[in-house]
Symmetry: T
Subunit: 143 residues, 12 copies
Amino acid sequence: VKILLIQGANMEYLGIREPELYGTTTAAELDALLMEEAGRRRLHLDIRYTNLEGEAISMIYDADRGDTEGVVMNPAGFTYAGYALRDCLKAVALPYVEVHMTNLVRRGTRSVTAPAAGGFICGFGILSYVLSLSAIEKLVAPL
Amino acid sequence: VKILLIQGANMEYLGIREPELYGTTTAAELDALLMEEAGRRRLHLDIRYTNLEGEAISMIYDADRGDTEGVVMNPAGFTYAGYALRDCLKAVALPYVEVHMTNLVRRGTRSVTAPAAGGFICGFGILSYVLSLSAIEKLVAPL
Amino acid sequence: VKILLIQGANMEYLGIREPELYGTTTAAELDALLMEEAGRRRLHLDIRYTNLEGEAISMIYDADRGDTEGVVMNPAGFTYAGYALRDCLKAVALPYVEVHMTNLVRRGTRSVTAPAAGGFICGFGILSYVLSLSAIEKLVAPL
Amino acid sequence: VKILLIQGANMEYLGIREPELYGTTTAAELDALLMEEAGRRRLHLDIRYTNLEGEAISMIYDADRGDTEGVVMNPAGFTYAGYALRDCLKAVALPYVEVHMTNLVRRGTRSVTAPAAGGFICGFGILSYVLSLSAIEKLVAPL
Amino acid sequence: VKILLIQGANMEYLGIREPELYGTTTAAELDALLMEEAGRRRLHLDIRYTNLEGEAISMIYDADRGDTEGVVMNPAGFTYAGYALRDCLKAVALPYVEVHMTNLVRRGTRSVTAPAAGGFICGFGILSYVLSLSAIEKLVAPL
Amino acid sequence: VKILLIQGANMEYLGIREPELYGTTTAAELDALLMEEAGRRRLHLDIRYTNLEGEAISMIYDADRGDTEGVVMNPAGFTYAGYALRDCLKAVALPYVEVHMTNLVRRGTRSVTAPAAGGFICGFGILSYVLSLSAIEKLVAPL
Amino acid sequence: VKILLIQGANMEYLGIREPELYGTTTAAELDALLMEEAGRRRLHLDIRYTNLEGEAISMIYDADRGDTEGVVMNPAGFTYAGYALRDCLKAVALPYVEVHMTNLVRRGTRSVTAPAAGGFICGFGILSYVLSLSAIEKLVAPL
Amino acid sequence: VKILLIQGANMEYLGIREPELYGTTTAAELDALLMEEAGRRRLHLDIRYTNLEGEAISMIYDADRGDTEGVVMNPAGFTYAGYALRDCLKAVALPYVEVHMTNLVRRGTRSVTAPAAGGFICGFGILSYVLSLSAIEKLVAPL
Amino acid sequence: VKILLIQGANMEYLGIREPELYGTTTAAELDALLMEEAGRRRLHLDIRYTNLEGEAISMIYDADRGDTEGVVMNPAGFTYAGYALRDCLKAVALPYVEVHMTNLVRRGTRSVTAPAAGGFICGFGILSYVLSLSAIEKLVAPL
Amino acid sequence: VKILLIQGANMEYLGIREPELYGTTTAAELDALLMEEAGRRRLHLDIRYTNLEGEAISMIYDADRGDTEGVVMNPAGFTYAGYALRDCLKAVALPYVEVHMTNLVRRGTRSVTAPAAGGFICGFGILSYVLSLSAIEKLVAPL
Amino acid sequence: VKILLIQGANMEYLGIREPELYGTTTAAELDALLMEEAGRRRLHLDIRYTNLEGEAISMIYDADRGDTEGVVMNPAGFTYAGYALRDCLKAVALPYVEVHMTNLVRRGTRSVTAPAAGGFICGFGILSYVLSLSAIEKLVAPL
Amino acid sequence: VKILLIQGANMEYLGIREPELYGTTTAAELDALLMEEAGRRRLHLDIRYTNLEGEAISMIYDADRGDTEGVVMNPAGFTYAGYALRDCLKAVALPYVEVHMTNLVRRGTRSVTAPAAGGFICGFGILSYVLSLSAIEKLVAPL
């Protein structure tokens, strides 16, 4: 089962940027951890970083045209004004799980992409991603 | 490890109430499913239903005074105006995971208790609860 | 035909509380008057007073599980923030008529439970209740 | 006892317009039904349709100058911006009952004329009108 | 000098409607008083009452096409939503003075026609009209 | 094919009113131009001017009862508060094209009748009307 | 009859400041013109300029303690936030007429002192002051 | 003189909950301190804790029916949405003093029960309660 | 112990201004009463009246530079827009108690200076001041 | 005459994405249809798809520097937050026609780029584009 | 070249008030530093402190009547409600540079005087003033 | 000292776009002017233009990873919705000065990136950039 995991704007700086909010695990360490977890679940995980909203949109259309079966995304910097990304996620047939490391609700932020999600997980730091793999696995193969 | 799971106002009617939103699994079936899952994770799960916000508050203070180590709650009917419940959750030392079966963000609802949560999971139906057990387990025993 | 009539928070003080708004008929006098009217219409009326929103919710679920065929309610103190009560009324199959003694619209108040009502009557004082019995009778037995 | 019943803008198309909201009873059928009900109550009912707010205002001043003793109105299209109509209803001494076929509150609509009403009935379809006759009868002759 | 004075919706009931706000002078008495005052100032005053906003609009276009040189209006019932009337007043070349008997600002009302006025007088009761004649006279013949 | 074209409040003053916004073509010249264009397209065009919202409503119900197949309207002065007109347009089965000479969006105006339109054209001055004839022709006879 | 006329903040620069809005008559010229007009009406006019809201308040209390019988004021710079001035005007027994040279409503400004006024005149430039003398004269000696 | 002192939702956790805001005095210590202070003032103090808004309402009605002469309350968790409690406090004849330990205004919180209070004291921590006893004593026996 | 008590804008008219709200005790009588109460508590009270916000600010800086140990203030007319006063109160090291005679919350007013207060007392009329002396005494000498 | 037609974010998925809103015509089919229509009108049409707002901006500056004479754009995903695109369209001298397939107003969406348009066409599906070619042709060569 | 530099309400306490925001440089030290900088640029600097908005207004009118050529101001306490000051700055012909030591935008504050400024500098602490001298020098003598 | 200067969306059209707002200096001329000024200050200036927000983000992360010591940016088209850019600027350790040619506050625009700035300069046209170089120089080397 092939899954596209998109890390939105600013995620490349994970571990360096505001560590009191996001922890000190770097992007590379997170990737390794998730590839291992995916292997355990026999998911084929394609992790992509981008700072460009339009590029994320193209990735999703490409995935939809190919054999990818689900999308996990931390919209990060696209959380606030990613309306085009939201329309894209609504347009494709793929199940989508949205992930955030911090509790957005506590910070008073409203994700504009979340209405396009099948499910939403936030606030658990690195664990948010691990839970999202468990979730997308079930959504893709509900039986 | 002892966990308190609170089902807020109206959850007793699960499976009967708005099944197109909440599915047809009944409260009793959900309890069985969660007790089994908890057993697998060696969690001691105390499931409580209440329609009274003040009763939920008292349950949490009792848990905090006892040997309970975490709280999972679907605030359900308390989602909209449960400010006293939110203050209670902030007052106690217990980690709290908030769970909703539907994607609140898509429905435009803002949970007033969510800012007190360590993490927040919504939109996966019954699976939301399963993920929450995995999450609270990690939060309670992070190593 | 069995009808549940709920008098919400503060209704126990009818006739004493703000008589320039609510008149001087007491709760006991109103009950007698409504029982008589119900008798005339061969309705079996179960009148219940409660100051606890969660208790009102439980009453409605009990009624729905039993042989009650309709609900009339003056939400009174629950008018402003009774969101859980609203979800409960949407959850059950029983027709619901909402009643207020004063014209809420003139006072600029918006009832949060009213969207769950089949119909809404307000502003006629004691007469509001009498009209509501006529209305619930028709809703329960439309032919 | 003479009662003026005004059917506001768009009511002439009753039974044709949005039947899933307003039912299939036509304006003519409703008139017949209400004349019969009025006869039973010995009310002299004067039913008037108008699409012009100013015309409705003139009708009410004429009624107030004559021997009419009460007004029942479904403001319909005047519900949203009928401020002049509201001032007119406040200006005259006649008791006024406002009627709507659908539950306005559920649809999120606020009637600008309702603050001028003695009482307000909505959501019961054709039955709303029947209840309004019962109500205006009591308001006009309270003893 | 010919002046059009429009009395908007509900002004026909002056002296009867809410006398604690508007006094007991009737429309007929006010007309006589203003005709006399106009005579003293050698103004030819054309006083018109209407409950129909569109009719007021037509009166103004007719005046603009004729030899009328100024418009005085108490929009009354058109104060709240008379947007079409406002556009009409902006469209014609005639100076316009807006008059209200009560102090709108104290009542928290915002006149939608006032932005089209050269000047605005409110709060002086009958005196507001007298001042408006003095004002329109100056505006029409500034030297 | 018979089309009703309604010119809303203030359109009679076209060419005279705010020419820097609406140009200098008069209502009569526009009528001639549109009749010619309609002739070329074999549309039977019925052009009507009115300053009364209720009159526009009656015209539309009459058209719907007759053999008219489409409505084009510039709501003009009804744009701001024509809620009753909007309900009327939703009630009838006729396709409706809304036309404005200026770009409403740039001026920050929201048309309350536009939600009832099949399509919406604004900002092209006289050309807006010409495009609307082309559009209504296609909507009426889609094949 | 003694009248206090207060010119609020920035009025000292009349004729220099934004002449396209306020004209070219200077403060000194306006004073002369008003003293003459007052003389004609046998009013004893005390004209005061101040940029300090608290000073205006003290002037009004002094006037109220003395033999002044009415207050005319152009709040000017105090229009936007003169809440203390408003409370002062409500506290004294003196009739108060508020004056503005420009049409505040057209400029979208709301005067916070206006609710304390007996009447309100705006938009007539220098003429606004002349009308206000006529108005205060009548308010002070209504017979 | 008998006084009812209600400690609203979450007050049972005083001294444990957010001590940086509420200090370390526990509920039991506060009770002792207030009983002593009440003794000094010859007030008979009945201190009640509840997490249920409806229970607080019932306590107040019971007090009003008995010989209690005043109510002091820290609404605590009921501060945000205690509309039914507010209506109750308006309904009874007892003077009511509202108490908060922290300065609500600084925290941007608006108490919904405060409009029903004779007076309001906040921000002094434990001292707020002591001042409230002094205040209720005067209100109950003003001479 | 030296205390500065500031009476803000309009307080000089106490006993004369809106007596139904503020009672008939005059400023002079209140001063005498407070000096006596202060004497009993061995507080050296410096009572100052001002209608100028900037003057109140200077008083507070002077007090802070001298041997004054606390500030009590009824901001009165400065309540609505006294932002500079608020910043001043935050700038100095002196404890500050805010006092109002009426229940601001009931009147829907929000004090902009209150966030700078250690504590806040309102609604008790003259008694508010007496309580504030008791409060400032404790704040200044907490042991 | 050379025209730039930009298809904004998500338009590449036309015919696949939400067909109940946008129909089943694919992007390729629409291109063919528009090239043919353009040929008939002797317009040289340059159709460009992009998911990147900044790329659309660069296309427009390039067009403005070259011999392109008009821009037609369906902003699609840029409709909600394309402020930079709006500034770009205002910066260039080219006439701009905005096109949407659905009636944005009915969906409650406000286009941020529309204020920069000469004209605006929405709601006619594929026909919207055809009308826009007719419109841009006239705007570019008004005679 | 003569420049007026106004330090608004509370600036006299610079270095003492909230040093974590404003630093420890005192008003006297800042004055010395700025006089020296001004000397270097051959600017004649007139530094004035005031807590009274109306006094600042009078200073500016005096400067405008004299030979001052530019105004630099830190409105400080006047930032929030200095509407009269804003109108004054618009009234005079002098270029105006507004200065703040902290980044207002980050603190969510909107300066009401800033719309009257030629330019605006904030966030650089003491350096903000130094930059403002450089800026006003250029504005006054653009060549 | 190496400084990154980013010119945001639409800045490439400087001198051509809305010259009444932005002047006629072109982008190339501004670059030359700034390189010269930077040379004088011994700053190594790297000027970059981009219409893509994500590209600006990447430039900043690259600068942060390299030896750049400060960022100056005119966000231009990113001012309105550049939330991801704001998070990026908060993430890096580099001091950031924000620059705008026009006075944003006067135009009622709020910059979403400004809260991430150390300081903010706007309204001085080309001079804004010159001042920003002076400012960033001080911020980078405060001693």
